[in-house]
C-alpha cells in the first residue's frame, strides 16, 4: 500500500474538524504527506460530516476512494461508510455512541472511561484519543500531536488542553498494543518543514505576500474560509477588513478602495456573485483594478451550500453587460492558488480590469502538503503613473489600451472615472466616435494580457493519442488518474488549464495538437469548459467525464468514466 485513507466521521459539533487538523499536522511533521478532505452538511450540530486524511510518503494532491481506517464518532458513520472499508481495515469507535460494529472487521473501541479514567471530559477528548490511536496504529510517535493539541485547545483553559493531551497519549498506548497492518515508523522527517494548508489559505498567503491591504465581503460558504484566512492575519499585516451589508456593497466598496489606491480584494460564492455582476461591469468601464474570488458550490440557486462543483465558469466569463475585459484564473493546488493570486493582483493593476479567481469548496477547504519553497516571495507591481505633468487624462488612448493610472490625491491633476461612456478625461459623452475608440481600447487590453497567459500543466507523453483536459480543482485527481493509466501502459496526456481567460488559444491548441481524442473532465452537468474550448479553438471533447453530485473528483471516479474510452 502506498498510501492510507483515514475517514473520521461523526455529527456536526462532535469535533471532527477540530481534531483532524492537529492530526494532519502531526503526520506531516513526522515526514508524511497528507491530503485532507472535508465533507460537511449545511448545519451546525448533528447530521453527518466527515474528514478524510489520505496519508503517504509521496506527494498527494487528490483524494481517493476506499477507507483503510474508519474513525466513527457515531453509529451513522459506521452505517454510511462501512461499505467503503477495504481489507484489512480497522474501525476506531466511540463505545458510548456506536453500539454495532460490523462483524469480522478489526476494531478498537474508545471511551472517556478508558481514555481519561475519572475525568469529566467532553467529546473533544474522545477525538483526541482517536487521533492518538491513529498515530499509534501508524507507528508515529504521539508527542508532536500532544503539543499541537495543547496549542489548539489552549483558549479553552489549561484543563481542557491537558485532558486532550492525556487522551491522545492514552489512545496512542492502546493502539500500540494492537497488531497493526500500517507502519510508518521508519519515515524520516523532511529536511525543511513541510506545510499543510488549504487552497484558500494558499491564496490568502498570496494576497498578503503581494501587498494586499484591503478586503471586504459578505459571508458565504465556501468563500468565507478565504475571507477568514485573510482577516485572521489582518491586524498583524495592516490590512483593512470590512464585512459589508451585502455583496453589492462588497464589490463597490472594494472598487472605491482600489480607486483610491488600496490593493483590494473581494469575493463570494455564486449567489453573492450574482449581486456583484453589476460591479464587474463598473470595474471594467472605470478601469479600476480588482481581484474577485468566486468560490463555487453546486446550484442552481442555493443548491448544496457546503458541497463542491465547477458550475460557474460560463457565468463568470460573461457576467455584466456587453463585452467587457477581464481575466480568469482557476488554480488547481494551494501553491498554484498562491502564485495565481500574486499574478492576479499584479495583472489587475497592470491591465486595470477585474481579475477573477474561480475556486470551489473542495479546493478551498482541502488541506494539501506542500514544500515551503513552493511559496516564493512575491513581486509587487503596481504600474502607477508617477505623474508630475498636469493635464492628466484618466482614459488617454494608447495602443496597448492601457492608460497611465494616477491615484486621486497623489500628484497634480484630477482623476475622473465614469461608468458612462466617456472621453479620455473621464467625462460622460454622447459622442459615438469616441465611444467606438474607448470600447476598442478597453478590449484591446486583452491582447496584451493573452500574450502573458498560458497556465497549462501538462503531463504524460506528448504523443499520447488521448488527452484529458481539465481545469481548477480537478488537477490533483486528474493527474493521479493519468499517471495510473500511464503506469499501466495506457498512454494518456493530462492538460490542466489554470488561466482560462483571455483564453490562451495558441498554447492550448499546440498542447493538444498531438491528441487524436479529447476527454474533458469537469464538475458540472453541461461541460462548460468544453463549450469554451469549442468556442475558442473549434476543438471539442469526444467524451465528457462530468460530476455534479456535490463531491470532488477522485482518480477512481475518473477511471470509471474513462472505461471504454481509453
Amino acid at each position: 500500500m502506498t498510501d492510507l485513507n483515514i475517514l473520521i466521521g461523526g455529527a456536526a459539533g462532535q469535533g471532527v474538524h477540530s481534531i483532524s487538523l492537529p492530526l494532519g499536522k502531526a503526520l506531516v511533521r513526522h515526514g508524511l504527506r497528507v491530503h485532507m478532505l472535508q465533507d460537511y452538511q449545511s448545519r451546525i450540530r448533528g447530521g453527518h460530516l466527515f474528514n478524510v486524511l489520505r496519508v503517504g510518503e509521496a506527494s498527494l494532491l487528490s483524494p481517493r476512494e476506499g477507507v483503510d481506517l474508519l474513525v466513527a464518532l457515531n453509529q451513522e458513520t459506521v452505517a454510511l461508510h462501512r461499505e467503503e472499508l477495504s481489507p484489512p481495515g480497522l474501525i476506531i469507535y466511540d463505545v458510548e455512541q456506536v453500539k454495532e460494529v460490523p462483524a469480522g472487521v478489526p476494531s478498537l473501541g474508545l471511551s472517556h472511561e478508558t481514555l481519561l479514567p475519572g475525568a469529566a471530559a467532553g467529546e473533544i477528548a474522545l477525538n483526541a484519543g482517536a487521533a492518538g490511536a491513529i498515530l499509534g496504529l501508524l507507528g508515529v510517535p504521539v508527542e508532536g500531536l500532544a503539543g499541537l493539541l495543547e496549542a489548539t485547545f489552549a483558549d479553552k483553559g489549561p484543563e481542557v488542553a491537558a485532558w486532550n493531551r492525556a487522551a491522545a497519549q492514552r489512545g496512542h498506548e492502546m493502539a500500540r498494543e494492537r497488531q497493526s497492518p500500517f507502519d510508518f515508523s521508519r519515515v524520516s522527517p523532511p529536511p525543511s518543514p513541510r506545510l499543510l494548508l488549504s487552497g484558500h489559505e494558499g491564496m490568502a498567503l498570496g494576497a498578503l505576500a503581494a501587498g494586499l491591504n484591503f478586503i471586504c465581503g459578505y459571508p458565504m460558504t465556501p468563500w468565507t474560509s478565504l475571507f477568514n484566512a485573510v482577516s485572521l492575519r489582518a491586524a498583524r499585516w495592516g490590512v483593512v477588513v470590512e464585512q459589508t451589508e451585502d455583496e453589492i456593497a462588497a464589490i463597490n466598496m472594494a472598487l472605491g478602495a482600489s480607486f483610491a489606491g488600496a490593493r483590494a480584494l473581494t469575493g463570494t460564492s455564486g449567489g453573492g456573485f450574482c449581486l456583484m455582476t453589476e460591479g464587474v461591469g463598473l470595474a471594467a468601464m472605470t478601469e479600476t483594478p480588482l481581484v474577485v474570488v468566486v468560490a463555487m458550490r453546486p446550484g442552481p440557486s442555493t443548491g448544496l451550500p457546503t458541497r463542491t462543483g465547477q458550475g460557474d465558469l460560463g457565468f463568470v466569463l460573461s457576467a455584466g453587460q456587453d463585452d467587457s475585459p477581464r481575466a480568469l484564473f482557476t488554480p488547481g493546488t494551494p501553491a498554484q492558488g498562491y502564485a495565481l493570486m500574486v499574478r492576479a493582483l499584479n495583472f489587475a493593476d497592470k491591465y486595470q480590469l477585474p481579475v477573477f479567481i474561480l475556486t470551489d469548496q473542495y479546493f478551498g477547504d482541502s488541506q494539501v502538503t506542500h514544500e515551503a519553497d513552493e511559496f516564493p516571495p512575491a513581486a509587487v507591481e503596481r504600474f502607477l503613473d508617477g505623474g508630475a505633468k498636469a493635464g492628466y487624462e484618466r482614459y488617454a488612448l494608447r495602443e496597448s489600451g492601457i492608460s497611465p493610472r494616477r491615484l486621486p490625491g497623489f500628484g497634480p491633476g484630477l482623476v475622473v472615472a465614469d461608468s458612462d461612456e466617456h472621453t479620455p478625461d473621464g467625462h460622460l459623452t454622447e459622442d459615438l466616435e469616441v465611444r467606438v475608440k474607448m470600447h476598442e481600447k478597453r478590449l484591446r487590453k486583452l491582447e496584451g494580457l493573452r500574450g502573458e497567459l498560458s497556465g497549462i500543466t501538462a503531463a504524460g507523453p506528448a504523443d499520447a493519442p488521448l488527452a484529458l483536459v481539465c481545469w481548477g480543482s480537478t488537477l490533483g485527481p486528474a493527474a493521479e488518474a493519468v499517471s495510473r493509466l500511464n503506469a499501466e501502459n495506457t498512454p494518456v496526456r493530462l492538460v490542466h488549464l489554470s488561466e482560462l481567460w483571455p483564453f490562451p488559444r495558441q498554447a492550448v491548441a499546440s498542447v493538444l495538437a498531438g491528441a487524436r481524442k479529447l476527454v474533458v473532465v469537469e464538475g458540472n452537468a453541461c461541460g462548460q469548459l468544453n463549450r469554451l474550448l469549442r468556442q475558442e479553438t473549434g476543438l471539442a471533447a469526444d467524451h465528457l467525464v462530468l460530476r455534479y453530485d456535490g463531491r470532488p473528483f477522485t482518480p477512481e471516479y475518473l477511471l470509471r468514466g474513462l472505461a471504454g474510452v481509453v
Binding site: 499536522k25 501587498g211 483593512v240 483610491a260 460591479g279 463598473l282 490625491g409 484630477l414 482623476v415 475622473v416
Partner: protein, 284 residues
C-alpha cells in the same frame, strides 16, 4: 476664499430652471469659502440627473452606478482618509435602489458627506415615482397615482443615530450654502437632503410648493438638534410645514478610526511585499 471659477466643470445637460443649478452654485461657494481645492475633494455619485453633478464641477470623481454611491465612498475613505469625500445621489438612487447602503452608512459613520438631491421623482428616466414621491403622484407606470405614502428618510437617519442630519432647499441659496459648509465641516457621516425642484417631471412639488411650506429651524426658538426626541419629530414633519436646517447632530466615533492601518497614511503607500516565510510558520 478661493475663486469660484476654480471649480468650473464641463457644460451641463440639465434642464433650464432645474433645482440642481442652485445646488451646484451653493456647493461651489461652500468649497470656495472653506478653501477646499479641487484636488482635495473626491465626489462619488451614482446614476441620475443629480449624479452628473461631479462632472459639472472640477474635482476628483468616481461616477459609479445607480444606488451604490455609499459603498464606493466608504471604500475610498477606508483607503485614503486624507481625501475629503462627498457622495452625491438622487432620491431614487439613495433611498430607492441604494436604501440598504444608507442603513449601513448610518451604522458605520464614515467621514462622508452625503448630499441627496430630492426632487421626489426619477428625473433622468423621465418621471417615474421615487420613494419620496407624495402619495397620489402620477406617472406612466402609476396613472392612478402612487398608492402609498413616501419614505421618511430623515426620520430613518435620526432613528439610526446618523451623526449629522440636515435639510436644505434649492430655493434658499445662502442657507443651503451654509448647510453644505456645516455638513462638510462635520466629522462623521452627514446626510444633507436638499429639496430640489424638477421642472420637467415634478409638476406637484414645485419651487412654489416648497416655498410655501419650508421654514428654518434656526429660527425656531429653543430647537436643539442634539435632542433626539425633538429631532425625530422634526424629521417626520412633512406636508403643510417642512423644516429646513440642521435637524440632528450626534457626535460619534469615526469608522476610519477603527482601523490601525489607516493611522499610517493612505493604503496606496503601504502596498509592499510581505515576508511569506514568516506567514508560512502557521502551516508547518
Amino acid at each position: 476664499m478661493l475663486p469660484l471659477d476654480l471649480y468650473q466643470g464641463i457644460e451641463s445637460a440639465w434642464c433650464p430652471g432645474c433645482g440642481n443649478f442652485a445646488m451646484l452654485k451653493a456647493f461651489k461657494q461652500a468649497l470656495a469659502e472653506l478653501e477646499i481645492r479641487p484636488e482635495q475633494i473626491l465626489l462619488v455619485s451614482g446614476i441620475g440627473q443629480s449624479s452628473k453633478f461631479p462632472h459639472y464641477l472640477r474635482c476628483h470623481t468616481f461616477n459609479g452606478i445607480h444606488g451604490r454611491t455609499l459603498p464606493v465612498a466608504t471604500g475610498v475613505r477606508l483607503a485614503n482618509p486624507g481625501l475629503r469625500v462627498v457622495a452625491v445621489a438622487g432620491d431614487g438612487d439613495c433611498y430607492g435602489e441604494g436604501g440598504n447602503h444608507l442603513l449601513a452608512a448610518f451604522r458605520r459613520n464614515p467621514d462622508v458627506t452625503l448630499a441627496v438631491h430630492n426632487n421626489q421623482v426619477y428625473g433622468l428616466t423621465k418621471g417615474q415615482a421615487s420613494p419620496t414621491s407624495d402619495q397620489g403622484f402620477k406617472s406612466l407606470i402609476q396613472p392612478a397615482g402612487v398608492p402609498y405614502p413616501p419614505m421618511h428618510a430623515l426620520a430613518l437617519a435620526v432613528a439610526q443615530d446618523c451623526s449629522w442630519v440636515g435639510r436644505g432647499f434649492a430655493g434658499a441659496a445662502d442657507h443651503l450654502k451654509d448647510l453644505y459648509k456645516q455638513a462638510l465641516g462635520h466629522r462623521g457621516f452627514a446626510l444633507l437632503e436638499v429639496l430640489q425642484p424638477c421642472v420637467s417631471f415634478n409638476k406637484v412639488n414645485t419651487y412654489d410648493w416648497y416655498r410655501q411650506r419650508v421654514y428654518r429651524l434656526d429660527e425656531v426658538p429653543d430647537y436643539d438638534p442634539e435632542n433626539e426626541a425633538a429631532a425625530y419629530l422634526k424629521a417626520k414633519e412633512w406636508g403643510e410645514r417642512i423644516p429646513i436646517g440642521v435637524i440632528y447632530r450626534r457626535p460619534r466615533p469615526l469608522l476610519e478610526d477603527a482601523f490601525p492601518a489607516l493611522a499610517a497614511g493612505p493604503l496606496a503607500q503601504q502596498v509592499v511585499p510581505r515576508p511569506v516565510a514568516e506567514m508560512l510558520t502557521d502551516f508547518a
